[in-house]
């Protein structure tokens, strides 16, 4: 059974290079082949000089078609179709359609001689651009393309449906005008047989696969082309017919809503929901283009804030210096440390002061709570264990340097890192050191305990997996420090590094499962919800990444470095940034709900209890918001 491979028109037994026409060869004694300018589905396209005009250099494009089949019947049908279409082309006169000068068959192949278009096709233009193409350029081209489609659709006696609209079939000439190329002489052969594979091109509408092609099919393909130009997202790579998952403005906020709406209408899956004609689409584009020429466009750095609802805190509590660590809740009391050297205990409901405990150094981390004790480190080098009820010291543990790490209590052990370079394991009952491990640099990353494994990062850049006896199970190296804490989820740990990467590492083997690159380093501890990993970065974005596929689900641009760590409560994610704002986003879409301004950077993660969100800011204040 002859299998038709539609998009690669090469004869079965020899590579194309051997059978391409060579430079300086002369075809049928008239066309001097200069060079190959493209490889099409059925053969090559050459730039050639028409020697019938010896006194001038008349350049033409020679399009070659090599017929695959050995079946003489099929071959004859193909040639006839080719001639029929060439005849139609000969009757078309439009500035966006290249003129056809000649057609003939020679040496088992067929040739079309066309007007040579000096320019690039839009696929090349897009590839050479780092960003999506400018909106006004795309709108202008869109209008010209609607114009030529309308011309084809109004052809008599039969309307011509182009059926192959895509960036590689649209050339831009030296004057910046578009020219449609490839009138799909090969289109008649897109019949799949058993086991055959065809690329869908991604620009074709669903009904084209049922064999229906109408004007609306060209409208769809044009919409798909514009979508690709405005987003730089190739629809052939994506799952077919998923444009609704990639609205233009989501990927390119610089595009106006009016133009997005035109594109969205054109790429509706049901033909009746699209523009009924190319003329209708052209008018819509003109209207959108006029409007956006008048209105000032939104700048891309502005956040999509709808109405800024004013959120008022239930209570606030002011300390005497920056609050850099997060609070912990237990039994109606909220415990929070401040750079003013004190650990405070406040009534969680009304913020009333209960007690404070002074140390000799700033407290920059979150306390842990265990067995009636509030446990926390201070820059005075000590781990303090204070009785929660009374605020009186119970015991202390000494390390060799300032403690800027939040402690973790598990299985009767307390684990805390210190700037002295060690991870300390302390028995909570005896208050004695059980073991220490020298990492070679400060340890500020709060350890995560899963089963009998301890995971934490250090400033040297390593992430370690240790057992409770102080033995190393594995070590994972990143290129810069890991200050934030790792989080465990379904067999893997997730953490960010100052090297700008969000890592997923298998908990048992220490092998990286995937790496997600952000633009700058991060000190944000990720939070995990619904198989999404959410973390912030110094590049100003909060990212949401799928834990299985490592694909970005959304990203949110904050106005400054995202120095805090996110948490999720109900269907929102809350995260603080260096601009002092606490952002509240919908965690599924990354859409901003509101932001709450404070007077200084927020570097910790908030805590939620009983629908009250507690967080501290460098403006010295602890806030309690109702969410």
């Amino acid at each position: 059974m002859d299998t038709q491979r539609m998009t690669q028109g090469l004869p079965q037994n020899s590579p194309s290079a051997d059978r391409q026409l060579g430079s300086d060869s002369v075809l049928v004694n008239r066309y001097l082949i200069q060079e190959v300018i493209g490889v099409g589905g059925m053969g090559s396209v050459y730039r050639a000089r028409d020697l019938h005009f010896p006194n001038v250099v008349k350049l033409v494009a020679v399009k070659e078609m090599i017929i695959q089949t050995r079946d003489p019947q099929v071959r004859e049908t193909i040639v006839l179709n080719f001639e029929r279409e060439a005849n139609i082309l000969a009757t078309l006169h439009h500035p966006s359609i290249p003129r056809i000068f000649d057609y003939f068959s020679h040496d088992e192949r067929s040739y079309l001689v066309l007007e040579f278009v000096n320019g690039k096709d839009l696929e090349d233009v897009l590839a050479q651009s780092d960003t999506p193409l400018p909106e006004d350029q795309v709108v202008r081209w869109g209008i010209e393309l609607c114009d030529v489609l309308h011309y084809l659709h109004s052809h008599t006696p039969e309307p011509i449906i182009f059926r192959d609209m895509k960036p590689s079939n649209v050339m831009v000439n030296q004057e910046g005008h578009i020219v449609l190329v490839d009138f799909g002489i090969a289109k008649t052969f897109r019949v799949g047989q058993k086991g055959t594979m065809i690329g869908t091109e991604g620009y074709s509408p669903p009904e084209q696969y049922r064999g229906e092609a109408t004007e609306q099919a060209d409208v769809y393909a044009l919409g798909a082309t514009l979508h690709h130009l405005l987003t730089k997202r190739d629809p052939r790579i994506e799952t077919p017919f998923t444009f609704n998952e990639r609205p233009v403005r989501k990927l390119n906020p610089a595009v106006s809503a009016e133009v997005e709406a035109v594109v969205a209408t054109a790429i509706q899956y049901s033909p009746q929901d699209r523009f009924p004609t190319a003329v209708a689409m052209k008018e819509a584009l003109i209207s959108a283009g006029t409007k956006t020429g008048i209105l000032s466009r939104l700048s891309s750095s502005i956040v999509n804030v709808k109405k800024e609802e004013t959120i008022k805190p239930i209570w606030t509590f002011e300390t005497e210096d920056e609050i850099r660590g997060g609070p912990v809740f237990d039994n109606g009391l909220l415990y929070i440390g401040s750079y003013d050297h004190n650990m405070y205990a406040l009534n969680a409901t009304d913020g009333k002061f209960v007690w404070k405990f002074p140390t000799d150094g700033g407290i920059v981390t979150r306390p842990a709570f265990s067995e009636g004790l509030v446990l926390f480190g201070s820059e005075d080098g000590l781990l303090h264990a204070v009785t929660a009820r009374t605020g009186k010291i119970s015991w202390t543990y000494t390390t060799g340097g300032p403690v800027r790490c939040s402690p973790r209590v598990a299985e009767g052990h307390l684990f805390i890192g210190s700037d002295d370079g060690f991870m300390h394991a302390v028995n909570v009952l005896t208050c004695r050191r059980v073991w220490t491990y020298d990492t070679g640099g400060p340890v500020r990353s709060m350890p995560f305990v899963q089963g009998d494994n301890l995971y934490f990062g250090c400033e040297v850049g390593d992430v370690l997996c240790m057992d409770f006896r102080g033995g190393i199970r594995w070590r994972f190296k990143t290129k810069r420090g890991v200050s934030a804490s790792p989080v465990f989820h379904k067999g893997a740990i997730y953490f960010t590094s100052l090297d700008g990467t969000l890592y997923a590492v298998d908990g048992k083997s220490g092998w990286a499962v995937w790496r997600f690159r952000m633009n700058k380093g991060s000190i944000s501890t990720p939070c995990i919800v619904d198989n999404f990993v959410i973390a912030g970065s110094a590049d100003g974005f909060i990212y949401c990444v799928d834990a299985s596929s490592s694909k970005e689900i959304w990203r949110f641009k904050a106005e400054h470095q995202v120095s805090g760590s996110p948490i999720v409560h109900k269907d929102s994610v809350y995260c603080g940034a260096a601009d002092g704002n606490l952002y509240c986003l919908e965690y599924r879409t990354g859409r901003l709900r509101w932001k709450f301004p404070t007077g200084g950077p927020i570097t910790s993660s908030p805590t939620v209890y009983n629908d009250i969100l507690y967080f501290g800011s460098a403006d010295h204040i602890l806030y309690a918001l109702l969410v």
Partner: protein, 300 residues
Amino acid sequence: MLDFIRKVFKSGGDHQATKPTIETAPLSDAQLQVVAKVEISLNPPQFAVGSGQSVGRQRDHNEDTLFCLTAVIADGQRDLPVGIFVVADGMGGHQHGEVASSAAARTMVEHMLTRIYPALFAMSGNGLEESIQEIMEAGVKEAHRAVVRMAPGGGTTLTAALVVGEQVTMAHVGDSRGYFIHPDGRTQVVTQDHSLVGRLQELGQINEKEAMNHPQRNVLYRALGQPEPFRPDINSFQFPTPGYLMLCSDGLWTMVPNQEIFRIVTSAKSLPEACNDLVAAANEAGGPDNISVVLVKYLH
């Protein structure tokens, strides 16, 4: 008072002295397993594997390729079972189908092996240079290049799994499938078929009946060897324990329904036998296409 307390806490010896001694012969592990259907604990954790392949009843030659490899390196500190499993279903007629699937499978495996090899045996306990997903994505690219080079005009599906301990990462293009078979009867497809008709169905453009008779029902919108750019699906999961990982070509899943797959896999005496029975079932149902299947279980 003390007596009462002793009785409550059974700290007295009298209680035990009055019991008659009855001896029972302990049941052997094998006897227990048959009766209790409980998994025995194994150390180090390792994989059991089976594979099966058949040309089917209607094709005259086989264009599928399958590959299985497992390894364990264990020292009590860090036990690492590793597995590589691949199924590729070639298409294109003439001689290109099997050349395509073979080139893709071999290239993919070679790429994965060379990248994880140093990490498996490194003394330093350091892991991989790149991440597993990056290795798999690059492997698929290499495999695609190999298909274009060695089988021009041909194409193939590729479904590959790299398993490290309980972490499974699958790279997938086409309509071969990866399944997780759970002991409660759920057969979960963990790959997405890149079939045009499947997508049209999802969109509501055609119904199931139209899909079965659609002229392009065998058309894939993504396959290795195609000239358009594409991206493989790469996803990481936890190995279903207890449960099975199964990879197969469409010659199996289009012919044997899920309940039947579950019944065969859970009633066979060994994984190789299960694979044999699965292939037989597909042939029994007509065998219109080549059939390949790989079955893996994580034992610990």
